[in-house]
């Protein structure tokens, strides 16, 4: 589309759309600084809700549980997802390729309640005690498909002759992978890791099915509170989550920009 053909109608759609998308989030952030316990009536500025968070043992433990699960599951999902992408792009044809891509696709499209239920029934059948480990397994299963998508896209656009050149110069396949391929696909692998981390930190349904007593995650805690209504504390937790994600995104964008700039300069 050529530039500068925005009609007034287009501008209105855009303005309304952005207001709709950001309004609710802004309200949550603003009212997290509300002095009143009645979360929706403004009664003056206060940071009380935030100060109360640190003393909330249940919340802190849920946060810690979530961070641990997110870190571990994102690492495993990144490795498995990258391997799957390599197998799909580089493996050529292999027996069961259709099955493999099909199974990779399932967690992306299946309703979360179905995935959660099916995993829980597996854990019961295996007699695996439910806790942080089972939640992490569930999150790996969900996130590795997303990682594969991201890395696959990068691998398809990858100039294979670079790798061939390294092999011609006598590099072993592993050397060629770590010396040539990995640095080139690194931004996609990094993006996949962050996506996996965010998915894990945000997941409620899978965690509810796969967790046991003592492994309440942050979304499970927030959900339990939110069911009872809106409070400044939940607004504050939500605002912190929003801030954390925004910060991560800005960092990633800056990092990727710098990388792109550096590789252009070379």
């Amino acid at each position: 589309m050529s530039a500068a053909r925005l009609s007034p109608l287009n501008v209105t759609a855009l303005a309304l759309g952005l207001a709709f998308l950001y309004g609710p989030i802004l309200l949550v952030v603003v009212f997290s600084f509300n002095a009143s316990r009645l979360a929706t009536v403004w009664a003056g500025f206060s940071t009380g809700a935030y100060r109360g968070l640190l003393d909330n043992a249940a919340l802190m433990s849920a946060l810690w549980t979530s961070l641990r699960i997110a870190l571990v599951s994102a690492c495993v999902a990144t490795v498995l997802g990258t391997l799957a992408a390599l197998a799909l792009v580089r493996g050529g044809r292999f027996l069961g390729r259709g099955m493999f891509t099909g199974l990779l696709y399932v967690p992306l499209v299946l309703p979360e309640v179905v995935t959660g239920l099916s995993l829980l029934l597996l854990f019961v059948a295996l007699d695996l005690g439910r806790g942080t480990v089972t939640v992490a397994i569930a999150h790996v299963t969900l996130a590795m498909s997303f990682v594969t998508l991201v890395v696959q896209a990068r691998l398809i656009g990858f100039d294979r002759s670079l790798e061939e050149a390294a092999r011609d110069l006598g590099a072993s396949p592993l050397q060629a992978f770590f010396g040539v391929t990995l640095p080139i696909i690194a931004p996609a692998v990094g993006a996949g890791f962050l996506l996996a981390f965010t998915l894990s930190l945000d997941d409620l349904v899978l965690a509810s099915f796969a967790s046991g007593p003592g492994s309440t995650t942050l979304p499970m805690y927030v959900f339990g509170q939110a069911r009872r209504g809106v409070t400044p504390e939940i607004n504050a937790v939500s605002s912190l989550l929003i801030a954390a994600v925004a910060l991560t995104l800005v960092t990633v964008t800056l990092l990727m920009k710098r990388r792109a700039g550096a590789s252009l300069a070379r």
């Binding site: 499209v109 309640v113 597996l122 994600v245």
Partner: protein, 317 residues
């Protein structure tokens, strides 16, 4: 199809092809095993559970499959499998209603998202080049913030003493607060809000590719703006419309969080019914039967989505 043939485009010299193949097999092994154990087997267990019988015991279903390989025990156990759960689902109006509500609300929300998302995606695609990426990022950014928080935000907005009613009362638009929270309307609002970015991305991808010369040609030939929109822009963006609608519709049918937080007791959606059968009633076989029904309903849209994505990939390469 032959597995021996080398893929085309992979010609040239190859060092020790057999070694190379072993390497790629090893790469495949870990993810393949993971998928088999944590995707395929669990789904099979759900199907098997859905033909079991619910009992008040631990574990709460029977028959248990025998641990030994004795064919007699197996024959007996398999003989006890039953379709009763599906009969229960078909017989009770509750589940039929939940099915219709799920499909209905997902359909209405998808339609609203399509119309509003089209307006936004069109504006982004027509913005000046250097603005486009920023606008697209701005539209997609909320998708990255917590799903739960985004749904939760609407409780504060929609409840009777919430921000929307406060604003309407202050403006004199209404004289008494509207009851929106805990209705189907609130669920549709929540679904639209949560899934809007899913629509905008594929729509933008297909709108951005359109050649503006086509619209100019139509204008030169005397077509009105409205006519240009319906006969040029919309047909060309059809792949984006299909992909975006399916991306929204499929997860919405099985949605749990939105109806649970924003819906009322009468907002029965399949995801919520499955949840309560499992967690509240501890009826694992019935919950599994609902899962199988959800799968059966969604299999067609899922295949269609996969097909549309495959076609898009082929067009891109």
């Amino acid at each position: 199809m032959s597995g021996v043939v080398h893929p085309p485009g992979e010609g040239g010299k190859r060092r020790a092809p057999s070694k190379r193949r072993w390497g790629s097999r090893l790469v495949l092994l870990a993810p393949a095993l993971w998928l088999a154990l944590f995707v395929l087997v669990p789904l099979l267990i759900v199907v098997r559970m859905s033909v079991s019988e619910s009992v008040r015991a631990r574990p709460p279903y029977r028959p248990q499959l025998p641990a030994s390989l004795d064919p007699e025990l197996w024959r007996e156990a398999l003989g006890e499998l039953t379709l009763d759960n599906y009969r229960d689902l078909a017989a009770s109006s509750l589940y039929g209603e939940a099915l219709l509500t799920s499909l209905g609300l997902a359909f209405v929300a998808t339609a609203i998202i399509l119309v509003s998302g089209y307006g936004i995606a069109l504006a982004v695609a027509r913005a000046p080049q250097n603005w486009r990426m920023i606008l697209l990022a701005a539209v997609v950014l909320p998708f990255w913030t917590s799903f739960l928080v985004r749904v939760y935000a609407w409780i504060g907005i929609l409840k009777s003493d919430g921000w929307l009613n406060q604003a309407f009362l202050a403006l004199g638009l209404i004289s008494a607060p509207l009851a929106i929270l805990n209705t189907n309307a609130a669920v549709v609002i929540g679904l639209v809000y949560a899934y809007l970015p899913f629509m905008i991305l594929p729509l933008h991808a297909s709108l951005e590719k359109q050649d503006p010369a086509l619209l100019e040609a139509a204008a030169d030939l005397g077509a009105s703006p409205l006519r240009r929109f319906w006969t040029v822009t919309v047909p060309l963006s059809l792949p984006g419309i299909v992909a975006g609608s399916l991306l929204c519709f499929i997860p919405m049918v099985g949605e749990f969080v939105v109806p649970e937080l924003l819906g009322g007791t009468e907002t029965l959606m399949l995801g919520r019914v499955l949840w309560s059968e499992f967690f509240s009633n501890a009826n694992w076989p019935l919950a599994s039967a609902i899962a199988v029904v959800l799968l059966a309903i969604l299999i067609l849209p899922i295949v269609a989505l996969r097909e549309s994505e495959r076609r898009r990939q082929e067009a891109a390469s």
